[in-house]
Amino acid sequence: MKIVVCIKQVPDTAGGVKFKPDGTLDRGAMLAIMNPDDKAGLEAALRIKDQNGAEVTVITMGLPKADAVLREALAMGADKGILITDRVLGGADTWATSQTIAAGIRNLDYDLIITGRQAIDGDTAQVGPQIAEHLGIPVISYAQDIKIEGDSVVVQRQFEDRYHVLKAKMPCLITALSELNEPRYMTPGGIWDAVDAQITVWGRNDLKDLDDSNIGLKGSPTKIAKASDKVRKGEGTMFKDLDPDAAAASIADVLSEKHII
């Protein structure tokens, strides 16, 4: 079987956040890692490969330097890496991103597509389900367990207070939770091979069935009106010489004012 795993290179949110003048993120200026939910999705694909045999293709969209997460995936055991990169694709929101990645996936044969549930930079959880919608295949999001049964997948789909065991005929798309598994490390041999591995690079013109009105910043229905680093809190209010009743009452007042009680 053929599995496509969508991965994203994300800034490590611990490293600070920078913007370009147009309000979009300046990804080039930040440290980059493979998004954790995507890594769990890749691990799930590699386990299916280990057990059932499969060809695992990883695909990403981003700046040329996103090549690094593809090589990391190859070093973990993926078979092929594809980088979608083009200036005209920059500044895309989830609509334009999902249109673009779906167009890339149309170039491939696939039985199963796995994406992470959400990326730690945007936290939207939208691109996976939207890719499935553009491709016209079922989506199962929030997967906490994935099994292959013949031509179907059986997935535990997590909700707040329950999970559903869902069965879908392939092809379908699954979005993975990071608690799905513990991703393996890259192997030394894998790293060695990945350095020299051939990465396929696609630009705008390699993507079919994709309208120019649906790509990049211009093709994004959502527009950033304002973006800013979160303002650090100012000095708080301090009460020093209150008796216990007055102290308790001052806290209760704050809780009432904020509609907590």
């Binding site: 949110t13 956040v17 913007f19 989830t94 609509w95 999902s98 730690i120 945007g122 936290d123 939207t124 959880a125 939208q126 691109v127 996976g128 389900p129 939207q130 919608e133 079922p138 989506v139 199962i140 999001s141 929030y142 997590q158 909700f159 207070d161 329950r162 999970y163 559903h164 065991v165 869902l166 069965k167 879908a168 005929k169 229905p221 959502t222 527009k223 950033i224 009106a225 973006a227 800013s228 979160k230 809190k233 708080g236 209010t237 301090m238 009460f239 020093k240 010489d241 209150l242 216990p244 009743d245 308790a248 806290i251 209760a252 704050v254 809780l255 904020k258 509609h259 907590i260 009680i261």
Partner: protein, 349 residues
């Protein structure tokens, strides 16, 4: 897309097991504000099987109209056919604004529907307003500025940034909204809404997955990362037994108890409850730091909390530099009194 055709503020009234989720009432509360500014109606979209009699509840919480999509295919949530139901409602009734809760259901339904109807979606919003886009008109291009736009504000980058997003050229303007942020109104008993039954027809296709089992999960240990209110104690609490006064306050507030590393190292609290660099990172609506000095490793795990209230007898404790409200005093006297006041005020409501 003729934007003028799209009118009204719609909310998706999520129900599970034929019980309306609280997020629906919260969305109605916000929708009323937005509709007032826009001088339009609030419509709730109720999707499920055998759910028609839930419509009155939505009226009591502020819906002017309820569109009911009731079909046996809609018994338990599945992306399809629920996405079909909501998409067809949007195509037929053309809302200007469509709000969905950012729940495990809404964050699946929202993206699928927005992709299907061809509009943008802003995820996990914490604030919604009506305003201009761009916020400030470009000089010489004042006529290009659009008015009465939905401005959707959301945190990103793990809370490091805040962005305000608009969707000026597509309709509906669609967002998922974080649960627990918007305020429901006091329900108006006996309020009635116009009820519209709508069934777009459901024909199973390749996107209909099969539900083999529904497993309800009763969590054994409390997940402090999910708590909206955390009452956290440290070395200053003094003993394992004394954590009871924190538990009492947490119970009164509907919150959970957590702790600093010192309390875990002393064996007063289990490791699962530890907040900080070597414990868990939490971001509740309210974080009480009680008898916690506020070492940098602890602060790293809780500084993003919306509201931080610290009680400590040492006025030089570093916790006071991150607290929104700091009380210098004896926790043993203040906490029990606060618990009583919380109970009394909740009862009075």
């Amino acid at each position: 897309m003729n934007l003028e055709e799209y009118k009204g503020v719609f909310i998706y009234a999520q129900q599970v097991d034929n019980q309306i989720n609280n997020i629906a009432f919260e969305l109605l509360g916000k929708a009323r504000d937005l509709a007032k500014t826009l001088d339009t109606q609030v419509t709730a979209v109720l999707v499920g099987s055998g759910i028609r009699d839930l419509a009155d509840q939505l009226a009591e919480y502020g819906a002017d109209r309820v569109i009911v999509v009731d079909d046996p295919e809609l018994k338990d949530y599945r992306t399809e056919p629920y996405a079909h139901a909501l998409s067809e409602v949007i195509n037929k009734f053309k809302p200007e604004i469509m709000l969905v809760g950012a729940t495990a259901i809404g964050r699946d339904l929202g993206p699928t529907v927005s992709a299907r109807v061809g509009t943008g979606l802003t995820a996990d919003c914490t604030s919604l307003d009506i305003g201009d886009f761009p916020l400030v008109a470009r000089p010489g291009h004042e006529d290009e500025q659009k008015h009465n736009q939905l401005l959707m504000t959301r945190p990103a980058f793990g809370g490091n940034t805040i962005a305000t997003i608009a969707c000026p050229d597509n309709r509906p303007q669609m967002s998922t909204v974080r649960p627990g942020v918007m305020q429901a109104i006091q329900p108006v008993k006996g309020a009635k809404a116009e009820i519209i039954d709508f069934n777009p027809g459901f024909t199973p296709n390749n996107k209909y997955v099969e539900i083999e089992d529904v497993v309800k999960v009763v969590s054994e240990t409390v997940d402090i990362q999910k708590a909206k209110i955390l009452v956290s104690g440290g070395r200053g609490v003094g003993s394992k037994e004394n954590f009871k006064i924190l538990q009492d306050l947490a119970d009164a507030l509907g919150g959970e108890v957590s702790s600093s590393r010192a309390a875990v190292d002393n064996g007063w609290m289990p490791k699962d409850m530890q907040v900080g660099q070597t414990g868990k990172t939490v971001r509740p609506q309210v974080y009480f730091a009680i008898g916690i000095s506020g070492a940098i490793q602890h602060v790293a795990g809780m500084e993003e909390s919306d509201l931080i209230i610290a009680i400590n007898k040492d006025e030089t404790a570093p916790i006071f530099s991150v607290a929104d409200y700091g009380i210098v005093g004896d926790l043993n006297k203040i906490v029990p009194r606060l618990t009583e006041m919380v109970k009394a005020r909740k009862k009075a409501l």
